[in-house]
């Protein structure tokens, strides 16, 4: 019986192996990259499309996000009774993981929200799974609707090699900006006025430290938060054209420059001199901003998405600013757009998908976004509330996108840059890496990608 069983199992295993090895090379089921749609007439008349269903995958799950999406979908369906929207909403993390499978499957959704970064949108463009929307952009006037500084965040060359220019692959609804939150009471007690430029900000940090306060708050156990401190520092010290190339992962720049090393040195010095709370690499992100609400620090560098939570806890005490390199100029800081809404290559009705994207990003939609507590990406300051941190955020975003430079998140650059940046910044803060070693680690990832593609 024993030998017999063994042959039997052996045969089965061999059969299973033969089956898989005979199966095609991974990825060969994927569609060939589609040529940009040309020639086909664009239909803007949704009412004429008959009874159709539009499947939308988004990640607008939180309070105000979900509210705006629900309102806009209802408005679209009310305007075009022949359209029914099938919405699938997942958290950012979940969507990031399921989208790859969804797009390569046979039953792909029509509209999906895809992260701008190279490991998501870039990979999809390269695989030909998203439609270039240039035809619709001309028909709907998206190039006029969006400032070029914002639109470039959803532009790729059709082969996916260049990021930040080329075809338009999607449109975002909201904006994000990284700056400095501060406690007004703390500044007052330190006899400080709001710094007007980067030098003023740095000297305010020193003053706060000398007065025995914790000048800067950071929780970096998650690895990525330090990127939102390094980004603005880099923005103040490095020419923006260079940061754009580094951030978008396009060839032609280098991390190994005196300016980048100076930016890295600044961050390392800040921690070495005790300007941050103790043990930043072991502190949670949430714990850090909560310290600001408890009066345990003066400044907190971070993204505009924290404004609502901070305002809830601190009321009028919290403010937000983005220090420009020179007083009076527009600031150069990290930021970007919310996840752009894109059209999949497998959609049966690209005209409908494009009309939907147009609808959820038009002027009325921006109004609804602002009403539901989001930061509309267009004409932001006109929607600003009267007072509070949100007003500061709205004003700062408009000023940076029009007068200053909105710099890409550095982890957009390559598929592995998120890890490289996070690991290296933790090393830099801890003193494991000095500034030259930090820039070398970053250059290795950046150059490896730009030269390898």
């Amino acid at each position: 019986m024993f030998p017999r069983g063994k042959t039997f199992t052996g045969t089965l295993i061999a059969a299973a192996l033969a089956l898989t090895l005979a199966a095609c090379t991974p990825g060969s089921e994927a569609p060939a990259p589609s040529a940009p749609a040309t020639g086909a007439a664009i239909n803007k008349d949704v009412a004429s499309m008959g009874d159709v269903t539009l499947t939308v995958w988004d990640q607008e799950v939180r309070g105000g996000q979900n509210e705006q999406m629900t309102k806009l979908n209802a408005a679209f369906e009310a305007k075009y009774p022949n359209v029914s929207i099938k919405r699938n909403s997942q958290s950012f993390e979940d969507l990031g993981k399921t989208l790859r499978l969804a797009l390569s499957g046979t039953d792909a959704p029509d509209v999906v929200q895809a992260n701008n970064a190279r490991n998501t949108m870039g990979a999809f463009v390269k695989a030909g799974q998203l439609l270039p929307l240039d035809g619709w952009a001309d028909a709907y006037g998206w190039n006029e609707r969006y400032p070029a500084s914002v639109l470039k965040y959803s532009q790729y060359s059709t082969d996916g090699t260049t990021f930040g220019s080329g075809s338009i692959y999607g449109l975002p609804q909201v904006g994000e900006i990284v700056g400095v939150f501060y406690s007004k009471k703390k500044l007052e007690s330190l006899d400080l006025t709001l710094p007007a430029d980067w030098a003023g900000f740095e000297s305010a940090i020193v003053t706060a430290k000398e007065a025995g306060e914790t000048p800067l708050l950071l929780g970096n156990i998650e690895k990525w938060p330090a990127g939102h401190v390094f980004g603005p520092i880099q923005g103040a010290k490095v020419p923006p054209e260079q940061i754009e190339k580094l951030g978008f992962g396009n060839a032609g720049a280098s991390w190994i420059t005196p300016e980048n090393q100076a930016a890295a040195q600044t961050l390392a010095d800040w921690n070495a001199k005790g300007y941050f709370n103790k043990g930043v690499n072991g502190t949670e992100y949430d714990a850090a901003w909560q310290k600001l609400t408890k009066g345990e620090g003066v400044f907190l560098m971070g993204g505009s998405w924290m404004a609502a939570d901070l305002a809830d806890a601190m009321g009028e005490d919290v403010g937000f600013f983005v220090p420009p390199a020179t007083a009076g100029d527009g600031a150069q800081t990290t930021g970007g757009t919310g996840l752009p809404f894109t059209v999949t290559a497998k959609t049966k009705n690209p005209d409908l998908a494009a009309a939907y994207i147009d609808f959820i990003t038009n002027d009325e939609a921006m109004g609804i976004l602002a009403d539901t507590g989001n930061l509309p990406v267009l004409n932001t300051s006109t929607y600003a509330p009267e007072t509070g941190a949100l007003k500061d955020v709205f004003t700062a975003f408009e000023s940076v996108t029009t007068d200053g430079v909105l710099l890409p998140y550095l982890d957009y650059a390559t598929p592995t840059m998120g890890d490289t940046l996070g690991d290296s910044l933790q090393g830099l803060l801890e003193g494991k890496l000095d500034a030259p070693a930090f820039t070398e680690a970053m250059e290795a990832d950046y150059a490896g990608f730009t030269q390898g593609k």
């Binding site: 295993i13 299973a16 192996l17 994927a30 797009l103 043990g279 690499n281």
Partner: protein, 306 residues
């Protein structure tokens, strides 16, 4: 079928043979439903992983065949080598330390005839019942720079020892490992308690008459008697230590830097975040083989000793 058994025995060869063939296939028919499920959900994915591990694939575009390139990378890539090193270090924290503590704890509990044994047993087993995610969140608070551990150290004047435990390049690995020890100890203790309950009390009486103390009892009676339970405990905890994912994902994300990353976390990272599906599959396959070999070795050693 109406034929009597006697008649059937004397009937012709063809019928007899067909009867035996039926008998031979029957066992396979019985295991077929389970086997088909097993094949569909275990064997096929396993074979597919092996297949994928031979390609460089981003999960989207056409893959390129790289042969054993993904496997040689396991030796050349510092980060991956380190990940496997950390997994081996976790064996000490997840398996060796808990087995040591568990043996002593179970022996003391068995011999002392303490009251409230069942309550204590429940308490030590509790960490096993709590979801790892919850455990991780709780320990993150304990290890935080102004968390419980540092407060305790400060209150007894050991300020110099306080640090951001999970953000420290030297201490994050043991800090995470000790969470594993805390979780595993209960399981090991309860397993060993069950084993020790079977030891006949006459053995201890005889040993006492021969002049053996508690330590000798432990070495010469208790430990040899629970060899089988110890093997089970070691196997379970070693497998748990090598495939740790949730703990790392929730506490340090492999950091600071890459000082606490483990193979299963690398599998997740590469497959879902950085688009290196082939490499992820290769790590997974290698990890499976290592787990298989180590557990095989543990069981062989214990069988040989028995």
């Amino acid at each position: 079928m109406r034929a009597s058994p006697k008649e059937s025995r004397t009937t012709g060869a063809p019928r007899n043979a067909s009867g035996r063939r039926g008998h031979a296939a029957t066992p396979y028919l019985f295991i077929a439903p389970a086997f088909i499920l097993y094949a569909a959900f275990m064997l096929y994915p396993l074979a597919r992983s092996v297949h994928l591990s031979l390609f460089a694939w981003d999960g989207l575009t056409l893959a390129t065949f790289v042969g054993f390139g993904n496997y040689t990378e396991l030796f050349t890539d510092d980060r991956l080598r380190a990940a496997f090193g950390h997994a081996l270090a976790f064996i000490i924290f997840f398996a060796v330390i808990p087995c040591g503590i568990g043996l002593v704890l179970a022996a003391v509990l068995t011999r002392s005839k303490a009251r409230g044994l069942s309550l204590f047993r429940t308490l030590v087993f509790l960490p096993q019942v709590i979801a790892m995610v919850v455990v991780s969140v709780a320990f993150k608070q304990i290890y935080a720079p102004d968390g419980l551990l540092n407060s305790a150290l400060r209150s007894i004047g050991l300020d110099s020892l306080t640090r951001a435990w999970l953000g420290d390049y030297v201490f994050s690995l043991p800090a995470v490992g000790l969470i594993g020890s805390w979780v595993s100890t209960g399981l090991v203790t309860v397993l060993l308690l069950a084993g020790m309950a079977k030891i006949p009390t006459e053995l201890f009486e005889a040993a006492r008459l021969d002049g053996a103390g508690a330590v000798r009892e432990f070495i010469f009676i208790i430990v040899p008697s629970v060899r089988a339970e110890l093997t089970v405990a070691l196997t379970l905890t070693i497998v748990a230590s090598l495939k740790t994912f949730d703990l790392i994902y929730m506490t340090t994300a492999g950091g600071p830097g890459s000082s606490t990353t483990v193979p299963s976390y690398e599998v997740y990272r590469r497959a879902f975040e950085t688009g290196q599906v082939g490499s992820a599959a290769a790590i997974g396959v290698t990890l499976s083989i290592i787990i298989f070999l180590i557990t095989l070795a543990v069981n062989r050693i214990s069988e040989r000793g028995a």
